[in-house]
Symmetry: C2
Subunit: 214 residues, 2 copies
């Protein structure tokens, strides 16, 4: 690919991320993207085969990187403790999302919509994500938790690492927390770290069968 | 208000919830809502003053109820332990969202968009939510945590109670968990219950200052 092509494609993608982020996927037209990126609409069709292709390109960009942190640490399980690998993956994922907070926010919001493309994302990337998390958690928790418990931990963990980026406006305005800042990431990571340490330490406690007040 | 008016208004709202849920707020037109609800578009203008008024009505419906569970338990702090009050509020909130999962999903998704109406929701309902959570947590945690720590716990807790409803398709397809079923709510509540118990018990442990691997 020529340098010019790369930079045009790149400009289209980053413009799309910004507009999708602000107006939502359905609220953005190809014409608006073309205008803001200073390209011809036909260019977008040529490179991405239309708006849905552009959405796919955003998803691919985000999830390839996101999953690479998990994949890398699954490989590291051979050399280092699972606890360390898992936590490092989480730390990198938080940083990546913070550095690309517009993309992260838009992707997590869009993944909550029922659609064919989301179904495809789920069956490819999010099944992979599940697999990696299970590998990392299995090593860390060992046989101290049942499969069901483990699944719930992963779901909980995942909700913690994605939420600040999805709800950045809420965090900013209600809590004066700023997910795009390094300070936030470091502090938030420690909260997750502590939660994980407690989960890993306390797995031997018998699981409550009924809520105390019911 | 006449019985007929109530039922027409109700029909418009529930149709709007269903269409907003499926196609998003921006992806839904008044005309589509009118057609599906079998009313005249003018009726929607009359009752709700257009699409944005309808969105507001959905938000109001959801948050009034959602906040009522927290408010009620803040009142109960006089009679019962804070631990019990907090957990009961969470249990009711999970059940409410499960019973109204289309509305819950749509509202949480929409609240993640930057817009004037969301800013208003935040400054009214979500500031109130913050206030109630702080009351409930303050009593439960006492002076064992700093204000910053407490804020992070609340943010974490909130992400846990809303995530399954926002990401119901993901939970269904990746984890075979079904947030609209009673079984899910009871099980998920126990996970949150355990997390809270650990948080409340372990507050005296010194807070880690640096992640172990950094």
């Amino acid at each position: 690919m020529e340098v010019n092509e790369t930079s045009t494609k790149e400009r289209i993608i980053s413009t799309a991320i910004s507009l999708f982020h602000t107006n939502g996927y359905k609220g953005t037209t190809i014409r608006e993207i073309a205008k803001a990126a200073k390209v011809n609409s036909a260019n977008i069709s040529y490179y991405f085969n239309g708006k849905q292709g552009l959405l796919e390109a955003c998803f691919v960009r985000f999830f390839e990187k996101y999953l690479s942190f998990l994949e890398e640490e699954v490989r590291n399980l051979q050399y280092e403790s699972s606890d360390k690998c898992l936590k490092r993956a989480l730390y990198y994922i938080l940083n990546y999302q913070s550095d690309h907070h517009l993309l992260a926010r838009f992707v997590w919001r869009e993944v909550s919509v029922d659609s064919q493309i989301v179904r495809e994302i789920i069956s490819s990337y999010l099944m992979k994500e599940r697999f990696y998390f299970k590998q990392l958690m299995k090593e860390a928790v060992g046989d101290k938790a049942t499969t069901t418990e483990m699944n719930y931990f992963i779901v909980q963990l995942r909700s913690m690492i994605t939420m600040p980026f999805l709800n950045s406006q809420y965090l900013r305005e209600v809590w004066q927390m700023f997910p795009h800042e390094k300070y936030f990431v470091d502090h938030y990571f420690l909260i997750i770290d502590r939660w994980l340490t407690q989960i890993l330490e306390n797995q031997t406690k018998p699981f409550l069968l009924k809520a105390a007040f019911l």
